[in-house]
Symmetry: C2
Subunit: 329 residues, 2 copies
């Protein structure tokens, strides 16, 4: 691996000069600049980022910690963030925490050790105490980590209320909520979905019903649980889920059991990724504004990096939209 000094020798100049042309710093004669460029080409020189960042220069690296990359919602959010960061000349280090606290901690430490300029956290398990002590710029997607860490998310309350109303307007009255149900301790932003569901149904004098489905359990088991629910409870006529994949599962189960959608049963999902709109357009769902979320996450991070802004108990909330398919109405 050629180093700066090699380039300097080859070009017949000092290391300082080479550094200057690389960084476009100070005044350099056209002649020496050319000599240096030629030498760099010939040696196939790649600057060593480690050495450079060791001086305190920015790494131009942003770490993302997310619970999963196989879930289309996270995949699209991550891809959008990555794309926008790239356009701002930042590279992304993606860490897949897999809903595993220890892994999350390891990756967080790795990011800190590698001096990333900022961190975007999207994990949804209970939060690590380590976040309290982070010195770098940091922002969270839809989850409380610490008072000093700003949160960006969609309006879970509004979205879920929209979903419940859509089911009710479609004529459903025996409605179930499938998905993560609030554990009991600290309230996270996504718990607003459950709260909105209860409230909206109450406003219409309807009883809210629940099938708790933790993110931990396997898809096959979820499938089985939904199947049991629909078999035992033939009068269910409305289901809202906390993500689109569970809605897909529900539709599959309904088909297996000969339940007609939307006549016998109305289904509405949550997330509304491009993936679902492309490959499962029939699904009615609540679409989160992925692109806006990404942009706001990044802006909030950049304000910390560039202006040393500091936040305290800050929560940015973006509105969701209803996408009407054929599984409701």
């Amino acid at each position: 691996m050629a180093k700066l000094e090699d380039v300097a020798k080859k070009a017949g100049v000092s290391p300082t000069t080479v550094s200057r042309v690389i960084n476009n710093y100070g005044a350099i004669s056209e002649n020496t600049r050319n000599k240096v460029h030629t030498a760099m080409k010939e040696l196939n020189y790649q600057p060593n980022s480690l050495a450079r960042s060791l001086q305190g220069k920015k790494t131009q690296l942003i770490g993302l910690i997310f619970p999963s990359i196989t879930n289309p919602f996270y995949a699209e959010l991550i891809a959008t963030i990555e794309d926008q960061l790239f356009k701002s000349h930042y590279k992304t280090i993606l860490c897949n925490a897999s809903n595993d606290q220890n892994k999350e901690r390891d990756y967080l430490n790795m990011l800190v050790s590698n001096q990333v300029d900022g961190i975007i956290v999207g994990t949804h398990s209970k939060s690590l105490k380590e976040y309290q002590e982070i010195k770098q710029a940091i922002v969270s997607f839809d989850r409380y980590l610490a008072d000093s860490i700003p949160i960006v998310g969609s309006d879970n309350y509004q979205g879920a209320a929209l979903a419940a109303e859509e089911l009710i307007n479609s004529g459903a009255s025996n409605i179930y909520f499938l998905g993560n149900v609030h554990a009991g301790r600290d309230l996270q932003p996504t718990d607003q979905r459950e709260i909105a569901f209860r409230k909206t149904l109450a406003e219409h004098q309807l009883t809210p019903n629940f099938l708790p489905l933790s993110t931990e359990i396997s898809v096959n088991i979820k499938h089985m649980m939904i199947r049991e629910l629909l078999q035992k409870n033939q009068n269910i006529d409305g289901i809202m889920t906390t993500d689109d994949l569970t809605a897909l599962l529900t539709i599959n189960v309904a088909r297996e059991l000969g339940i007609t959608i939307p006549n016998d049963l109305k289904v509405i999902g949550f997330d509304g990724t491009k993936f679902i709109q492309d490959y499962y357009p029939e699904l009615t769902t609540i679409a989160q504004p992925i692109s806006d979320i990404a942009e706001l996450l990044i802006n909030t991070l950049f304000k910390q990096i560039d202006n040393h802004d500091h936040y305290e108990n800050k929560h940015f909330i973006l509105p969701n939209k209803l996408i009407k398919g054929n599984t409701s109405r």
Copy 2:
């Protein structure tokens, strides 16, 4: 950010001693070890990886360059690789090249500058000449990059032949191949799918038909093109696609047009991710051995890193499997 020297002062020892306890190197008395640990805790010390790696120590970082993370096949392959690497105490830097040559080049340079211990490349556009000059350990998924870069992939020929035979055995005779069609210049491993398709049909005295669908074009346009094909060509009775998503699209179009699957039309996909098996179990498809691919990619990389093995025109090929759903037969 506390540094090693701060810890040393606080513990009343030399920097070397602190370095020794951090790296578990040499002999240290229980007493000093404790003092150092206490000091580290109190200062919330995180070693600076950059400084450490600058000495030539390994970074324990592996870079992945993939064309997309929103495609379920890549998402699952990436997640599997990441998981296995993590278990071997390597962290992953995921780079999303988005089918963009310049982005791919930028990320490659970034990985080299950041001194990653190895690189796994899964992009499928035409290859950058930069790969010729890479000095680090490197391995490619299903694509030729340079003679010195080993390739790991599934048996595209066998998989596609399996798919074509499944359609023929299901009674199809007017069969189309939808997906990437070989451009004409250099032959990539995935081009074997098209070759196998032609060959297999010829063996059965059938004419191969094609609807070329580049990965570049948008899903909506693909949808439209498939719709036109099926409308104009009512006697098509078999379709094989080069990925499962295109198969999903085909099924959607068929439903729109009132074409019954598998009676009127048999469809078979390619990839067979867990995602498809979970949420679209009816699809008949060719499953790539994702977990084996991940393992072999990593082993091949580790042999270069640990044993300084060197490969020349090496191509590892893993077999595919048929997964029977209800869209064929």
